[in-house]
């Protein structure tokens, strides 16, 4: 709640384990606010919510240990090297030194970043930073990863690669909660919800939504809902 403006009004939904859940909505629809409530940065005024099986009111600390978060800004430290960033974020989740070492090796190998392991993150291209940020968010093997508009400002090829990474971790059992503005990305999700003015107006698989609204693309579903 911001003053007497209700950004998120009594939304109800559940996300299954290992699912890729697309959280859609126009700017100002309340996506980010809802997400911040789930990850414990904002406190909902009332309601009931479980994240990874933990209560948002009573067990915020347990939630924090079991979720990963990647913000819109690919928040890595530009003045730290790739390895140092990984070590830092692993460290604040309490991973042991040895574990961080093996994880770093795996991660560099997977992303093909071995050559830039000791390069400052600030000098990497945006697409690399974004993939690195995603891997860093997964470092402590969270049950759920929250991705806040993860592909903004990135070229289509990198976006494609990024979604491949998302699929891969979903297949390994990680639940993905992703907000996006790109409607083609929405089609990649297992299920999507569309928020309008603080309420969830639609929630289903992309196929079912298109059928329900009798249109060919999610884009059209979105436009129909957003225009009211």
């Amino acid at each position: 709640m911001f003053g007497d403006f209700t950004a998120v009004n009594a939304i109800t939904f559940d996300v299954k384990q290992g699912e890729i859940f697309g959280f859609l909505g126009a700017n100002g629809a309340g996506k980010t606010t809802a997400m911040k409530m789930l990850i414990g940065i904002l406190r909902p005024t009332h309601g009931h919510a479980l994240v990874a099986g933990f209560d948002v009111y009573k067990q915020p600390e347990s939630i924090k240990r079991n979720i990963g978060y990647m913000s819109q800004k690919f928040a890595l430290y530009n003045d730290l090297t790739v390895t140092e960033n990984v070590a830092f974020f692993g460290g604040i989740y309490g991973l042991s030194k040895a574990l961080i070492k093996t994880k770093t090796k795996m991660l560099l190998d997977e992303l093909g970043l071995e050559n830039v392991a000791n390069t400052l993150v600030g000098s990497l291209p945006l697409g690399w930073k974004q993939k690195l940020a995603f891997s860093v968010a997964l470092l402590h093997e969270p049950k759920i990863v929250f991705l806040d508009e993860p592909t903004g400002g990135v070229d289509p090829i990198t976006r494609r690669q990024f979604w491949e990474m998302i699929y891969k971790s979903a297949n390994q059992g990680t639940t993905i909660f992703v907000t996006t503005h790109y409607m083609d990305e929405a089609e990649y999700c297992d299920r999507i919800s569309i928020m309008v003015n603080g309420k969830i107006e639609a929630l289903d698989t992309p196929e079912m939504l298109k059928r329900q609204f009798n249109v060919a693309t999610i884009n059209e579903v979105f436009l129909k809902l957003a225009r009211g």
């Binding site: 940065i41 928040a75 430290y77 530009n78 140092e84 830092f88 604040i92 309490g94 030194k97």
Partner: protein, 368 residues
């Protein structure tokens, strides 16, 4: 790895890799103390004076010798005509002209009084005042020496003694002052910038979503700056002792503890600033305008508080630096112990607690 230690390590990387800021952080105290110590000085030394001597007798010669022998003055030239005074001042080198009347020595014996005129260049009023006082007292002392042989008339001779800084060295005033300003600047400005930087980058959100407690995040940001500030305080004191021969009268331990207290006060101010500013620029402006100027102008560092208008004297009470300067001058110059400065110490502790209370309140509002 201990999450908190990892966090501090990260902060140290930030500080060490920002070479320009680091250079400013470590270089500024040295440059400032040397600048204030050497360049900006209220003392006069080797001031060039011109002599206009219409008498040219033994008495004037003796007085002139006395003046030129002192470290304060050197004779630039001997003038011949009163008309030259104007042009001599305009050239700018000569700051004072001393003019003896005709038959100075003869008049002194015959009439029991003679006139010497001191003309000073008052474009810089403070210096002019000091110069004229110095010359005055030299003439006076000449007179006193010679009066011994004469029959004494009524005379009151005030004996002044300047305690704690007998040579009136202004560097004694600047060392505590610069130390205060530097500690305030580094502690408050740098922490507020470094916290708002995380907000701007979006990393603050990521940190708050992590298992790190908000208090750990703030403490992790602050700890490296405590060390940096202590390091600077030590450098300033060392420069004061070895370069400017400043005596340390009081206990170094007490000085250290009080400095750490003031550093913490400044850090909490920095945290407070960071909770109310969204960007690094706002934080910097708030620190500069809100802290630096009052610290320099209203703390008694340069301008004595007792000669300010009442309203400013009242305002000066809420400037933490004012209290620290009283404390540090007390310890350094007067050698006082805690029994003389407990009140100021308590005020600083009170301010610190107050800043922490507001910060915590503001911080919670932002989080919920």
């Amino acid at each position: 790895m201990n999450p908190f230690l990892g966090f501090i390590k990260k902060e140290i990387y930030h500080i060490l890799r920002d070479r320009r800021s680091l250079l400013i952080l470590l270089g500024m105290p040295i440059v400032q103390i040397l600048l204030f110590g050497f360049a900006i000085t209220n003392e006069i030394k080797n001031v060039e004076v011109a002599i206009l001597d219409y008498s040219k007798d033994a008495t004037t010669l003796e007085i002139i010798n006395k003046i030129s022998a002192s470290p304060y003055f050197s004779i630039n030239q001997l003038m011949m005509h009163e008309a030259d005074i104007e042009s001599v001042f305009q050239k700018g080198k000569v700051k004072a002209v001393i003019s003896f009347e005709k038959d100075f020595g003869k008049n002194l014996i015959k009439d029991r009084h003679a006139t010497v005129q001191i003309i000073t260049d008052a474009t810089d009023p403070n210096t002019a005042n000091t110069i004229s006082n110095y010359i005055n007292s030299m003439v006076q002392s000449y007179l006193n020496e010679h009066n011994k042989t004469l029959t004494p008339t009524y005379q009151i001779i005030p004996q002044t003694r300047m305690v704690y800084n007998p040579e009136l060295k202004s560097v004694y005033m600047f060392v505590p002052g610069v130390m205060t300003v530097i500690l305030m600047l580094i502690s408050a400005m740098m922490t507020s910038i470094s916290i708002t930087k995380e907000k701007e980058l979006g990393t603050m959100e990521v940190l708050l979503v992590s298992p790190l407690k908000p208090l750990q995040v703030i403490a992790g940001k602050v700890v490296p700056y405590i060390f940096l500030s202590v390091f600077n305080a030590v450098i300033i004191i060392i420069l004061g002792i070895f370069v400017f021969k400043m005596p340390i009268q009081g206990s170094l331990l007490l000085l250290g503890l009080e400095s750490v207290l003031f550093i913490i006060t400044s850090l909490t101010l920095g945290i407070l600033i960071s909770t109310i500013s969204a960007s690094q620029q706002t934080a910097m402006m708030a620190s500069l305008m809100g802290l630096m100027l009052p610290t320099i102008l209203l703390s008694g560092f340069i301008f004595p508080i007792s000669s300010m208008p009442v309203i400013l004297q009242v305002i000066s009470n809420i400037i933490p630096a004012k209290w620290f300067i009283i404390i540090i001058k007390g310890i350094l110059l007067k050698g006082v112990g805690i029994s003389f400065i407990w009140k100021e110490t308590l005020i600083l502790i009170g301010m610190t607690l107050f800043f922490i209370a507001i910060s915590v309140k503001k911080y919670k509002i932002r989080l919920e």
